[in-house]
Symmetry: C2
Subunit: 388 residues, 2 copies
Amino acid sequence: MAERSMIFPAAEFRDRTARLQAAMAGAGLGALLLTSAADIFYVTGFLTRFWESPARPWFVVVPAAGAPVAVIPEIGAALMRRTWLSDIRTWEAPDPRDDGIGLLAETLCGLVPERGRIGLPMGPETALRMPLADHDALGRRIAPRLFADATACLRRVREIKSGAEIARVRAICAITGRAFDRVPEFARPGCPLEAVFRAFQIACLSEGADWVSYVAGAAGPDGYADVISPADARPLTGGDVLMLDTGAVREGYFCDFDRNFAIGPVSEAVRRTHGALWEATEQVLGAIRPGLRACDVHRMLCEALQRRGAEPAGGRLGHGLGLALTEWPSLSALDETPLRAGMVLTLEPGAVVRPGRLLVHEEVVVLHETGAELLSPRAPSELPEIGG
Amino acid sequence: MAERSMIFPAAEFRDRTARLQAAMAGAGLGALLLTSAADIFYVTGFLTRFWESPARPWFVVVPAAGAPVAVIPEIGAALMRRTWLSDIRTWEAPDPRDDGIGLLAETLCGLVPERGRIGLPMGPETALRMPLADHDALGRRIAPRLFADATACLRRVREIKSGAEIARVRAICAITGRAFDRVPEFARPGCPLEAVFRAFQIACLSEGADWVSYVAGAAGPDGYADVISPADARPLTGGDVLMLDTGAVREGYFCDFDRNFAIGPVSEAVRRTHGALWEATEQVLGAIRPGLRACDVHRMLCEALQRRGAEPAGGRLGHGLGLALTEWPSLSALDETPLRAGMVLTLEPGAVVRPGRLLVHEEVVVLHETGAELLSPRAPSELPEIGG
């Protein structure tokens, strides 16, 4: 038998399945059909970057009781056999005649009674990773069984991280923290932003990231206009604020936090805004606890910024984190999700420096019954200055 | 006005839109609704790694005539304004009450007459990147307009690369070729495979990749059991074949090719199989041309391997490449797509060394009317030996 490559013991996955099955029972679901990288990794431990190829769909079915069943392209069978699953059904994909739909329909019909409902994530922050036409065909093949929305089930379970998961997020946060410590080595005045991005990714890898799924950032006087752009060739210039934000990955788990750096002396407005962001975060770090709602934390961050004379920017000021760069809930004015112990969250306040220019500050925490524990190394209270 | 960040001149995008609109006219589509990173980058030049966050949907509508319209979260507006689009409609996402569906429905209803059909990619190698429940709600909001499958339109257009696109793929292939040249510097006997993966990603970045979206590989005696696994801690050992496969990215365009290395002397079976793979590729490089079908090339590769006593492995032996790690068509027995000049393809023959162990060899080509031109630097005919 091939060597097992699981990141966690099988007991961890059995527990996840049991929690999902309890949620499914409460929702009256006879099975759960998963198609996304994060959901399938969560249930099986199947970790591969092959998701980057859109050519093939992958399916895992969580039945009402018993172990999940994988219905996957043959090219993934060797890797799936190294997870805790033993019922692995494969087809030779891509097959333009039937790309796994017949095998999947047969599997679902064997696991779910005719009057049963099959849960699919259909709600916010989900997407079905299979061709839409195949989804429609599958619906006809499983009739009279029906699809039903399983977002709430998945979300309630995935939102609460186990101790083993929290340790993974802590590990990648520490790795990335060391990479941020090295930014002054390469982010010198005159260095093009795209070279900074490359050097930062190299630092993340050198410090122990398995890969770097996300880097964004920007640099400019009095802050930056947006926070999702790739780098351009503009050289860092005295007076810029440089921001780097990253989702590096270790053993399938993400970090997501940023750091700001002053390239030489920066304006008083930048220093004041950075101070307000740091202090608003500090205040919420001390106040956040289970029982608050996501929107309460959003309001706390906004009010803390406003008390310090800063104008909050952006629609959400933090979010869940773990198997994906962003997860439920959103720390926004409209998200009433109650916070629970075991949630891993980012606190991500942004503030306007002047019209069209903002600063964003981000940390990662885990919620315990007693309050928040930082998983990212805390940013310095004073904006660090490079190459002054 | 903000600095434009387009990778190509606006004329390139206008031409892409015109080609799509010609295909849409042929298919009777009143608009095309795009939701995926690759499709939206293709039409607009909107390039960001923010797609890694599943929190927000993004929409671009290509009308029957005129410029595309972006319907996107406000967080992306600054970046989208730096593309060639000018009609950019935004909402504050994520919004659990209406995450852009009202705005999108209004946009579609304004562009498409009531009897019109709105194309969505629904077919092979596509997925709808928005919540399924929102897709259903959108369908009700646009009635009596109907959705129709637009996979063929998109595919016919995206499959043919412009000169500017081919130059981008050539550039990232050259970068990755230099990274492969450096593998003997770090892939020494005793080095854990996970350290090799990190060093290889660092080499890709150092040589000029913007980021590295995909690395897979494996090492073992007489080849490897699968080609999609992440790295483990097993050290490279004399007699192993090491394979590294990568999809590095430069300016939004991917390479996808692999290289094999012998860690010290390897078995005669490995050398013989590697020779068969190299020669089969060489033969097809000389024979592939527009007018052949994808399945013809698959058969040529299989027959060339068999003539050399090697057993073909795997369901497809190559695929399209460009804005994604893999694109249509598939070089498989079942794909009858006619090859056309301007297609960028990988040739990826695999062969069984012994049961459960295979070797895979991959190159990137562009098809001209006169035949194939290599975009990846050709692998050496003899398996290179490291640390002998």
